[in-house]
Amino acid sequence: MYSDKVLEHFRNPQNMGEIPNADGVGTVGNPVCGDLMTIYIKIKDNRIDDIKFKTFGCGAAIATSSMTTVLAKGKTIEEAMKITRKDVANQLGGLPPVKMHCSNLAAEGLHKAIEDYQKKVEKK
């Protein structure tokens, strides 16, 4: 069902954890659906300096979370905002159709974290 890449990220998730005093935090999903993800980012010079995730969900949810953080790390905010679900799925060698919709939310989580950061910056 899952590609080798998905299984690899599931087995060894990259950037798993929290960032205690993160610059931005984005949470997507709903445990009712069986998926919940939180993305934490640390921004430096308009770039994603550090990124971590926590995920409740299936293999696809965990793997897409991990891949999203890998793709985003080091990118500028503008570049990171352009990362789509599709990019994440492609980088993972594809996802089963049934998983495309619900368990592939990490890109949204990333965008939400960036928006959270931007709001905080505006407020300052």
């Binding site: 899952y2 299984l7 599931f10 087995r11 998730p13 798993m16 949470t27 445990p31 009712v32 659906c33 069986g34 998926d35 919940l36 993800m37 939180t38 926590k54 995920t55 409740f56 969900g57 299936c58 293999g59 949810a61 965990i62 049934v98 619900c102 368990s103």
Partner: protein, 392 residues
């Protein structure tokens, strides 16, 4: 690496004796029972003997057994065949909230065709509420369809009590015994059951075969029309190797049931106790005692079932998070929801179904890897309380 199969409710390998008895029917003994020459008689006799073999597993008479292509078809035939045939008597159908999709979906279909359907709730152990059955059934009820034991949470239902209520209103009782058959003794006469569905593969027989017990005199019509085989109730050239295989599987089941159930019950209890003792915030789903000998269903707070199954798969263990049939959707199992679990707990359930190949070392192996897997996934999960992580 030898895999450890702990998902016997999804599929079972066929008993070697069953394969052996099927083989000649693939080649030399390939007769069609409708033909009049020698090989035809041979096939006819093989089917009639097979009826006897299946009947004896459930205390039926051999002329009360019809062969089908599987339990899904048996459930459809029982429910739609009885409902349509008895439409003039009434239009009310009763079932429960923990049935298999092959019971629920035919009922939903009949609901659209003008029948009234009532689904009896279960308590938190998954036991059907007899008081609600009594209140729900009326003179318009023609059929109640209930599961003998739910394969997902293992709970065995009070069939005899349900049977009394149902027959007090002269309705028919259909029982889906797919998960129960071969695990616990079933007697359709003592329980006064009118129709009962069986699946071959669940008895370690070949896939693609099932049976429906239909008590003599039950008014039912076919759902598949054609050459009139199986007394006109199931047309189509008979799958003789499959039928012979199912009967052999039923015979072996009958013979071994006592010992094998005792053996599995001990393994089951080791696995349940081992998990609950070593993993915090893990809970047993289903009934603690009125439970199938092979069923272990545990929920682990804060993590999701599929990731558990995937992790176990990577370490060579096959398990399930519920009915294989429901894994096509992302919805959590309706059975776990019916026993009152919130969505996130229903998502976090893990189902082990034990079977003939499992030994104590399999259980020990699972117990040796599971705490680590749960811990890892809980570490990834944003729901896990910090205290729980530090704790272990």
């Amino acid at each position: 690496m030898q895999r450890i199969h702990l998902d016997h409710s999804s599929s079972k390998s066929i008993h070697p004796q069953v394969i052996k008895i099927m083989m000649p029917y693939f080649s030399q003994k390939h007769g069609n029972p409708s033909t009049i020459y020698s090989q035809g008689h041979e096939a006819k006799e093989a089917i009639e003997d097979a009826r006897e073999g299946v009947a004896s597993l459930i205390g039926a008479k051999s002329n009360e057994i019809i062969f089908t292509s599987g339990a899904t078809e048996s459930n459809n035939l029982a429910i739609r065949g009885v409902s349509y045939r008895n439409r003039t008597k009434g239009d009310h159908l009763i079932s429960s909230t923990i049935e298999h999709m092959s019971v629920i979906n035919p009922l939903k279909y009949l609901g659209k065709k003008g029948f009234k359907t009532s689904y009896i709730p279960v308590d938190r152990y998954g036991t059907i509420d007899l008081e609600v059955v009594k209140k729900t059934i009326d003179n318009n009820t023609i059929l109640a369809s209930v599961i003998y034991a739910n394969g997902e949470i293992g709970t065995i239902e009070p069939i005899r009590e349900i049977s009394e209520i149902v027959h007090s209103k002269n309705a028919y009782l259909h029982v889906d015994a797919v998960a129960a058959a071969g695990q616990i003794p079933i007697d359709v006469k003592k329980d006064n059951i009118d129709l009962l569905s069986l699946s071959s593969n669940d008895l370690y027989g070949p896939k693609g075969v099932g049976a429906l017990y239909i008590k003599e005199g039950t008014r039912i019509q076919p759902i598949i029309y054609g050459g009139g085989q199986e007394k006109g109730l199931r047309s189509g050239s008979e799958n003789i190797p499959g039928i012979v295989g199912m009967a052999k599987a039923a015979e072996i089941s009958s013979r071994n049931m006592n010992n094998e159930s005792r053996r599995l019950r001990a393994l089951r209890d080791n696995l349940i106790t081992g998990i609950l003792d070593t993993i915090k915030e893990s809970y047993l789903n289903g009934h603690p005692t009125m439970r199938l000998p092979n069923n272990v269903n545990i929920r682990f707070k804060y993590i999701e079932g599929e990731s558990l199954i995937l992790s176990l798969d990577m370490e060579g263990v096959s398990a399930s998070s519920g009915s294989a049939c429901t894994s096509k959707t992302l919805e959590p199992s309706h059975v776990l929801r019916a026993i009152g679990l919130p969505h996130e707990d229903a998502h976090g359930s893990l189902l082990f179904t034990l079977g003939s190949g499992n030994e104590e070392e399999d259980i020990n192996y699972v117990l040796s890897i599971l705490p680590r897997i749960v811990k890892k996934l809980r570490k990834i999960s944003p729901l896990t309380p910090k205290s729980l992580l530090e704790d272990t």
